[in-house]
Symmetry: C2
Subunit: 464 residues, 2 copies
């Protein structure tokens, strides 16, 4: 909007109020962008007690600003105080906890209902929003179908991590009674003690939508999931959540090379979109959260991702082990540690790298087996400053090979009969990958603690 504009109405929350001679300056923010707008009261009275956090409605004229650092401001004609935010205890209400000063992220974590009103968390949530939309735009523009895979599942995740149980039985208060009831129903209906539970069987919160995504990729050709996933792991780190959002594209007729290209294009599109559309928020993160952030993101966007087999990667790591010892000594067959991944992407390649063809022993049962009998067509995308950001693979589409692998691992083929159907009937090569949305948001914002990039973080012992 070009100034001057009469009859402007501003609604939002007061960030600061400054009194200068006959003037009062009130900075108002409504969360739609990083910048607040300055409203200048020249001889116009402001309500007593107006302070940080109050909600207001201000009428006036948008004018070019004489002040530095802002193109426009509002010459205010009137102000209505919509909601108070007392700076001191008042009528039994504690003072507004987000007074104008820097608050630690730890402190803000205890106030999830209010922390969205701070510069940092609002910027994170705006980036998170644009990033979500970028995910959808990327896949929709390429003919992918958004698939809502189920949250409640009967699959037991095959070691992908500890799972939360979903139940209408009560394990504590009525434990004895519920167990008794369940057992008595079970005795009638069959052998499962969960015959009396809501679904008549054991159910859990999903750890991944991949297997179900495969069922629809072999129907609609291109699908992606973007939904919540869960791990009941007791990991109280800055990188783990018990509830987080995952993105999992799955593509029929793709083999590993096409899957790698998709992952590279996807990551670049996401970063580019935020660089383009969230410049103001990113400038803040670059300045206050992590220096050099924007340069890192730009360099990823401008790079060509290098491809490296796991076997070659191990050779390089073993070579490097002479001059700069790793905590975990690398050897063929080991899982790559974070220090190894960061060496590969930050020191060896100095840019994004996709490591492929991992030993099958350290990867999931569904990955496509190579002819060497030792490796699978897995891929991990590693980026500087983080390490692994995407993991994926071509899937084993051959029925006999998949059944053999499941038998080796002692898996119950009966339980996966539905999944094996995809190999029994019209099987096709297909590939996919997964990435944690919060991990990506952390990477783009530079936020250190994953609990600060999701509105309401859930972790062991912590539920705000």
């Amino acid at each position: 909007m070009e100034p001057p504009q009469e009859n402007i109405v501003i609604r939002g929350w007061v960030r600061t109020k400054r009194d200068m001679k006959n003037l009062v300056f009130v900075e108002v923010n409504d969360g739609s962008c990083f910048s607040s707008i300055q409203c200048t009261f020249d001889g116009v009275p402001v309500p007593p007690g107006l302070s940080t956090g109050c909600s207001v409605e201000i009428s006036g004229t948008l004018i070019a600003s004489p002040a530095q650092g802002q193109a426009v401001e509002v010459a205010a004609l009137s102000i209505t105080l919509l909601g108070d935010a007392p700076g001191e205890e008042k009528n039994g209400i504690a003072p507004y906890p987000l007074q104008k000063k820097r608050h630690s992220l730890e402190f803000l974590r205890e106030l999830p209902q209010l922390r969205g009103r701070t510069n940092t968390l609002a910027a994170v949530m705006r980036v998170r929003n644009r990033l979500s939309y970028a995910v959808h735009r990327f896949f929709q523009d390429r003919g992918y179908h958004y698939l809502h895979t189920p949250v409640i599942t009967g699959n037991d995740a095959e070691g992908a991590g500890s799972m939360f149980r979903v139940t209408t039985l009560d394990p504590a208060r009525k434990a004895a009674g519920a167990a008794q009831a369940a057992e008595s129903i079970a005795a009638k209906q069959g052998d499962s003690p969960y015959a009396g539970d809501f679904f008549g069987r054991e159910t859990f919160l999903t750890v991944s939508g991949q297997l179900e995504a495969e069922t629809y990729a072999t129907a609609l050709s291109r699908v992606y999931t973007f939904g919540p996933t869960f791990r009941a792991e007791n990991s109280n780190t800055v990188r783990h959540l018990a509830e987080f959002w995952m993105i999992e594209p799955e593509t029929a007729f793709f083999r590993l090379p096409e899957n790698m290209t998709l992952a590279e294009d996807f990551l670049k599109f996401c970063l580019n979109t935020i660089l383009d559309e969230c410049a103001e928020d990113l400038a803040f993160f670059n300045e206050r959260i992590e220096k050099g952030l924007i340069d890192t993101l730009r360099s990823v966007v401008e790079s060509e991702f290098v491809h490296l087999t796991y076997t070659d990667a191990i050779a390089e790591l073993e070579k490097a082990q002479g001059s700069r010892p790793f905590e975990f000594k690398p050897y063929w067959g080991c899982d790559l540690q974070s220090e190894h991944e960061r060496f590969l992407t930050e020191e060896l390649i100095k840019g994004p790298v996709i490591v492929t063809d991992y030993p099958r022993e350290i990867k999931a049962f569904y990955m496509k087996q190579n002819d060497d009998g030792k490796t699978v067509r897995a891929m991990d995308v590693l980026v500087p400053r983080l390490g692994e950001i995407i993991g994926g693979s071509e899937r084993e589409e051959n029925l006999e090979a998949l059944e053999r692998r499941m038998a080796e691992l002692g898996m119950n083929a009966e339980h996966y009969s539905w999944y094996l159907d995809l190999r029994r009937y019209g099987t096709v090569p297909h590939s996919g990958f997964g990435l944690g949305f919060e991990r990506l948001t952390q990477y783009i914002t530079g936020m250190t603690n994953i609990r600060d990039v999701i509105p309401y973080p859930r972790a062991a012992g912590q539920l705000f």
Copy 2:
């Protein structure tokens, strides 16, 4: 693509194969759209056993089709059979269950891993996909921020329905042990038997993201949720799921009139998008699932939604009760039944209607109270052929009024202190609404059973 085009490659699944003299016609579909493409083999051999469900790769030339009902076809030069789908038992594998014939939706429900390969389910999932994206486009274009509200919650939903428990305790198999362990930990840590559970307290699957959405609406001004929600209700009907997706926009500074406009615009945008972008799939639903479907959708898009207070609606219902008795006799204070809603929208108004200002006794605690002391600023959007499709309200933003209402209802204010903070600090008028995504998908596709519009339906006793 304009024919002729040489060196075309088609990858997909065989829908039908017909042999005619020296010609073989193979219809191939890859799920990207409703139509299959016909590949004609003139003197080119096709693999033995090629049949419905097989996956194939076909090379040839795209040509203008001499046949009726299709603009183009492929003059095939070669074909590779990627995956068999035996029509009869073969090597111990049962015949492909989706042979070329009509299958009942009941039958398909037992095969969620394969039913996406049928015309009906693929069409539903394509519409569902475009509808999901339309939701995002609508809100993103209006400056709304997509908010991921938590799935695991400590809120007890205040009677919004039965909830699933989330736990790492085991209520059946190790019931006695778990209860004992939980109790012994509880004895050490405090008074809750859930002190030993993952979060150190009782947790459930969310029934709504609204309260958390309000916390971010009063920070970013405009937010919307689009995520899974859960009800552990034992309702085995064609309209209920235990797990379904909800859309809940929440807007700061909106009062009821703006909220009504948003709901109307939103619904029209969704319907219009599908009419525009899924014409082929809709034509199928109109022809095979519900006659008149497209006309109904068009009439909603072209209508102006009528506004009617609950009090006026009851007066009209009471008037109509004389000539056409309702099963449930309407009276001021009653909850509107489906038959009442359909009378209002289908017979009285003959179009979409928004009923407002319901008795506070039949609505939720957080709704804005009118000055009459009897009604709240609720709104339900009713549409022909369905009844209620959207429910919402202006929210009570006055601290004292909200606390008074919660006390009347015997609610624990302590437990909602975080929510009351929004009224303690910088409170603003705000409004929102919710709608069930599967209900909307049913409305648009005409599908009778809600289990046929979600990839993996979850209902009491049923988990495929």
